[in-house]
Amino acid sequence: MTVSSTVENISPGLRVEVGEIDRKLGELWSASEAGKVRASLINLVIYSESKDAIALNTPLLAGLAADHAFRALLVQADPSANETKIEAWITAHCHLRESGGQKEICSEQITFRLHGPAAGRLPSIVFSHLDSDLPLCLWWQGPLHPNPAPDLWAQVDRIIVDSHSWPDPAGQFSTLQEIESIGRGRCSVCDLTWTRAFHLRYAIAQIFDHAAAREHLSRIRHVEIRYGAGHCITALELLGWMASRLGWQLVTISDQPVFRQPDGQEVRCTLHDGLSGESCVGDVRFDLGDAKARVERSRSGDFYLAEFTLQGHAPIAQMLPAGRERTEDILLSELGRVGRHPLFWPAIRSIEPLLRGG
């Protein structure tokens, strides 16, 4: 029985028969050393059709377990395979949690590889191996399947996706909306791309908490957003958030879109993909007439520097946490959050024509 204690681990653990999983997990815990505690706050199902899914997600889960206990079902599917086969492995990820290092907190991981038509048995595999009474979060890696199966999605409490890599974002958001409606209010949607920009939204909002800056909020004439390679959707979602919160209407659909404010003034937007480093989006500038505002990464990269400058005055600056952009950290931030993202869909609707335009 494998009990991993490092984040380097990429082995899915001990190979087991699918029908033996519960018994083998029971053996794992009865055989584990004193001082190991099994903990779980959620059922986290990860579905991927990538060949590297197990190698990529196992260390990610090992790291995640240090901060958010779970039972993970990692499912790698290969629907194109000819044979019908289901393979399974179990493992646990343990971390010293208490000061003095006396107690190891462990999360379970059950890994499945579904070959051929067995990939269509995802609901059966998932429902048979959930930890009872805990919320079900399903992280769907890669593009969503069209015509989502109601039997699975009706049971999901939270669907996690990452839209920045979607080839057809408009179509995928439409499928996502369909999935959400299957849950009849049960399912909340989380787009990691939206979560990834949380700290940036926070820093922008913080600038306009300042009384002098707040007065200039309706005077935004130009917004410039610089984003990292492959993160155009992140930049668009950020723009969608501003537009939906400030009542802007999209009037020019192009790669340099123009919005109209409620008072009729236009807001020109410039999106560049030249952000250096590995940041997805992290340099936003506002032209506010007689004032300027900007949010950019601090020298260390750990913080955003949020600055407002009124013409003829010294800048008012504040440093705010930038958060980390590793998927593991973004996921952790999302799992640590309670509730829904009520501003997400309004933001997407604000930029929908831009998504269709590619």
Binding site: V37, A39, L41, A66, D67, H68, A69, R97, E98, K103, I105, F198, H199, R201, Y202, A203, I204, A205, Q206, I207, F208, D209, H210, A211, A212, A213, R214, E215, L217, M242, R245, L246, S298, R299, S300, D302, F303, A314, I316, A317, Q318, M319, L320, P321, G336, V338, G339, H341, P342, L343
Partner: protein, 511 residues
Amino acid sequence: MEKDIPANPLRADLVSRAVAEPCTLVIFGATGDLTRRKLIPALYNLAADGNLPSGLAVVCFARRDKTSEGFREELGEATRKYSRRPVNEELWQQFAANIFYHRSSFDEAGGYASLAAELEGIDERLGTRGNRLFYLASSPTEFDIILEHLRGSGLSHAKPGSWARLIVEKPFGTDYPSAQRLNTAVASAFPERETFRIDHYLGKETAQNLMVLRFANTVFEALWNHRYVENVQITASELLGVETRAGYYEKSGAMRDMVQNHLLQLLCLTAMEPPTDLEADAVRDEKVKVLRALRPLTGDAVAANVVRAQYTGGFINGHDVPAYRQEPGVDPDSMTETYVALRLHIDNWRWAGVPFFMRVGKRLPKSATEIAIQFRGTPPVLFNRESQLRDANALIIRIQPDEGISFRMAAKLPGALLQIEPVKMDFHYGTSFGKATPEAYERLLLDAMSGDATLFARRDEVEHAWQFVDGIRAAWQDGSAPRLDFYAAGTWGPREADDLLAQDGAAWRRL
């Protein structure tokens, strides 16, 4: 005059609490330990979490001759030592740039006039909008003079559209008359709604979780009354002795140091009725009702319901420790209590007949603060013929350390025989939620900046608590209560404390 600024539409859904407003925090007595060990590290951690308002300045008001630059360096060193997370130098430099040292004695009117001018300048530069948060971190003997000058200089009066708030660090008086005097002095300068009396126990995560446990779960509140509860035990035990606080502790003793504030606050949260909403006054109204319903302990009732004791020499973790009277700075004939046990009754419908036992002490075998709800046993038929099962069910709320909740219940031992043993279901904050818990001061400072007084004591709470405690202390002083008992360091207190519970057929929980 500040203009009314509409709400920031970009702020929606980014935080689920009230947003702290731009302000200047003025700390009186800023060269003391509290500022270095708690307040500045707490503010730094709030900055690191992005929880500080867009404009914040800290003005450190103290007598000693220092410069802002020098004091920032001192605070930087302290923050590196006491912060719960490593200090990021880039953030510290940005944060520390808005810390200023203001040298003045507390009784110097000119010092307050120059403070007012400095605050105006900060408002202009940093956009703190005339909002002031005055923190009394000095010795309580200085409170009166500081308050008088704050009033006299006009600093306690907020400009229209701004606010001026006061945070008072405990002790809030040393008895009922002194608490009344202090509260009157406070009220002469600040309205009650702008007064924030810190009891850091209320900032602890588990103390806050008490209301959630009771009022967000169906199962507990239904049983939370005299029909199902046999007794309630509140324990605050400390492994440490008096350490370097002999000067203070000799005058206060356990009753004034712990019972009057922390333990009575925990009692209130445990025993109060559901508030009508989560507004500060709704919660505090319910807490005050508990204090008003506490059966007074005076005269003979003190002898029957209160045990006080002092530790003698003994062993802690196998090491010799001296008696209290041999500790540095302690009077060799000291009669100060280092341990108190009480049996309390809350004379209301919910708690009629249910004893609330409290114990607090130094040099006990381990440090722990917890609340235990001991449920009544099932009728003595079927499985409950054996006495040990009579107290099978207990709900334990651990405030510190190892914050969490456990529930004890009876279970059948596996096997052919019908043998029943108590088992425990355990919830540990640390196990379930990996992220570090903020320090109590972080939450409390943030709440004060947001104007949320829920976790702060109101004037009537403080005064009712003092009235109750004064009755006991009067009996100690007039000799109507037994003299001091003694217990060996490293034990769970004097035998008399065990006897107190035995009279009700109960026993202290083994921690």
